[in-house]
Symmetry: D2
Subunit: 294 residues, 4 copies
């Protein structure tokens, strides 16, 4: 399955914890089944929503294996393999490939700010180590590193298996430039929920989102409306779901999606400290939104 | 003619100067006729493109009168009346109304940063002074003041004749919030050229732009394609004109539009110092774009 | 009197308005006398504090003439001549020189963002037009233009009579770089009140401030303590006056200084709209500070 | 030894790696001895300079133990125990205390941005777990979280053993506010090298810096000159070392300090990928600075 086959709604999974703060792999499997039954076009474990950064190495391996196994090729699986060190990222990328992932996602994470040569070297090391496609991921809000369109195009040119770009700056002009620079040939994906409408209109191949854990039908219908050129319907669908998209972004995805899953009957525990679970006011507001939208 | 009748492509005029740095009102009249003949839906003199901030009071009055007279009600005229002081803004707003303008545009300009009460007071003073609609204009990049959606909605509620909002932050989320907060009832206009596609898709009533001085057909066709729900065509039209929209934004509108008008046969002089005319490399690049697009 | 003779506390004057919003030149004269009697080392009319940007041309000329005449060479006078256009700035600089000013201050003000060549050209035009020293003024917070240390050094090299630099970014590193780049030979002045201690310690020649309208003794004593190497005393003097320095910066200088002058017995009216006078809570707080410090 | 006893120059250690990318604990011991022999007043392992974030748990424990043992109470040791999770931070803090550290340093690191309650909870958990002092560390440039002075004071009030604050924003006003809010009673430390002069002048108790690996005498003399009120000498000492302080900040501390140690005869390997070692031009420039300053 080539990277180009990945399109539409890419559903991000949470990582459920039990009451002892340990992994709850059973709840993970159920959340994956729900997403696939609800029609997402791909599954992405261990991303920002999946608290990948908060897991130890053993936990990371368990979630990666359980996720790929549970998806079981029903749709493509994109495993986030980002680690602060290049060595750790390469090791996780190899694990993901060995487990059967269709692609990996790589976000360069900073403690020390990285120079462009350091970032290119990082992607090249991962690219050399695996044979499956890489989705380059730009999200300065969480990673502390902002890759310009110039740098992204340089990496795409330099590393053969970087074949997809996920953009989460929230700046639509980045997508316009990716489109113009590649004559519309580089698949790009939107990672900023409240920009879903304009990203698809600008030519995004897919929408990387945790929202289908809560409102899968609305997410999918928006994608289909733009794809089929039903513009008025797309606008209406977008504005309907926008309050929820804004809420999950501002409240933090693990916090809000875990709360929302609980409200819809799937108990997945709280995020890991220092991240706190959703407070009562937030839970009431989210409950109201879900009642209206589902 | 009510504010709500203003829609589509609102063409911004430059202010032509002769070799002595004085006004060239003849060239102004010709540029207005060109815009109307080319199909813009409204004319907006003395805005950012029109170097309104760089004129003395007498020049401002001459350009306002010449513009309204030349348009002669063929389309609505929106006169920018912004001044650093409230007294100056009120005086210009009254002049514009007396001259026959259909609406005025007000950008709060800062030297000292303004508090929200000061901005509300400024709009209220203008609103109390005139009987025609006001287009509130938010453009922190030139004015140094960023009005939040909260503040804009507060002003719209407080001042009856603030009936339109022009948003130029370049952040599409502002438009989404204006739409949501007003249940789609507050007409908003896009002032950021490279955001033309997504602004219309998000529900913008019009596009405030100097681009029709150079590529009026492409601008109008983009508006019509979105209006009529031809999405694929809108995307294609947008990406075709985007390099020019990017260029005029980054190069400064008076600098690039005046150069472009010269290249298309209408000599309108240079911007006022310290703003410099377009250099040779820029002129060559712009000439190439125009050859391709016109 | 050469530019190098300007040092210590440069006191900025307000521009008093009467009840009719017209100039109150009598109050202006009294405020200048108070500053000189209180020991400031130079007087600077028509700056940010002086609402120079909010005056019409005739008012500007009256305030310039009255100020220079009233100072009457007791201390140097530095007249702010900034205007949005180069032509206007040159005209005001020539007026200031003709009136007898010892130096002029030039802040490049933007509506359209200026490129470096445009800024250099602006300073060169003023430099060519007059024979007295120019204090280059960098204050992105009010002007919208941030001149890097590189650009400032380029202008100082290119324009002979740019002999002083006033830095108001609030970033102490800018002063360190001005010192290193010029081997300590370029006089620089601090325009950020809450940075007064470290600016002098870093080698600033003077402090450009409106604070001596309210607490002249504390301002002068801080300067003298650093100059004479009494560090513990300088620190103590600084922390004593810092709450007031913070307050006048955050509240806006015309707003707070005019209110403070009123509280100390010199009625100078309100700032020009849209800028509002200090509210009651602010006036109470400021009154408390003044009671403690004077 | 109480937290208040920590003052002056707090020397940050690098973490040396061998050719196999494994720890070189022998070189670590030698670098610690050099710092103590050169007169630093405290030793801080596993901070930003020490690449603490790039070590696995076993490596972290080894470096912590080796460092505390090697210092052997000759001066206080402050161990950085920051981890993304609260559980990991608590575990490391307990280890540090058990090993004999005099204090721990805690930087809240974000992947998901933290709310104030989450940050307070994080510090409270660490404070409850150990009996030695905590140095709160604010460094948004590396951690992605900026703690306001309000929040810092709230944490200091809420958690008894948070008794010291390290400020690395580079904004001198933060230190002024810490001083004013605590009436000069809360010890604060400067973590921004190019601000060393003004931080001490503003009342900083110490300077947290990796510079003494390279220029210990100049660092210590600057501290002593300010402490003893020799202001002219302090200014001169500061400007002499500023080019090196700027260079190590901009080039990244592990990159530049490791290169500098190599240039002075102590081979400590390269930083961990993706961070690259210093390139040849940088090495030449640094060598020139060191020849001039040592």
């Amino acid at each position: 399955m080539s990277g180009h086959a990945i399109h539409g709604i890419i559903g991000y999974t949470i990582t459920p914890f039990g009451t002892d703060d340990g992994l709850d792999l059973n709840a993970l499997a159920r959340s994956i089944d729900r997403l696939i039954d609800d029609g997402v076009h791909a599954i992405a474990p261990l991303g920002s929503t999946g608290e990948g950064a908060y897991l130890n190495e053993d936990e990371w391996q368990q979630v990666a294996k359980s996720s790929v196994d549970q998806v079981d090729k029903r749709v493509p699986t994109i495993v986030s393999v980002s680690d602060l060190t290049t060595a750790g990222t390469v090791r996780r990328a190899r694990s993901a490939e060995a487990l059967g992932a269709d692609a990996v996602m790589v976000l360069p994470v900073s403690y020390w700010k990285l120079q462009t040569d350091e970032i290119v070297g990082h992607y090249r090391a991962v690219g050399d180590a695996i044979g499956i496609p890489i989705m380059l991921y730009n999200n300065p809000g969480t990673s502390g590193i902002d890759m310009s369109v110039d740098l992204i195009m340089r990496i795409v040119d330099a590393v053969d298996n970087v074949t997809m770009v996920k953009e989460s700056t929230g700046d639509i002009q980045r997508m316009h430039q990716l489109y113009l620079r590649s004559q519309g040939k580089l698949p790009f994906y939107n990672g900023s929920n409240p920009m879903a409408l304009e990203a698809f209109v600008a030519g995004a191949t897919g929408w990387c989102t945790a929202a289908p854990n809560l409102i899968p039908a609305l997410n999918r219908q928006l994608y289909e409306a733009v794809r089929d050129g039903r513009l008025a319907e797309a606008q209406s669908l977008f504005y309907r779901q926008l309050p929820l998209l804004d809420f999950i972004l501002k409240g933090g995805l693990p916090t809000t999606i875990k709360a929302g899953l609980g409200l819809t009957g799937l108990s997945v525990g709280a995020p890991r400290l220092p991240v706190l679970p959703l407070d009562d006011a937030g839970r009431d507001y989210l409950g109201g939104l879900l009642k209206e939208l589902r």
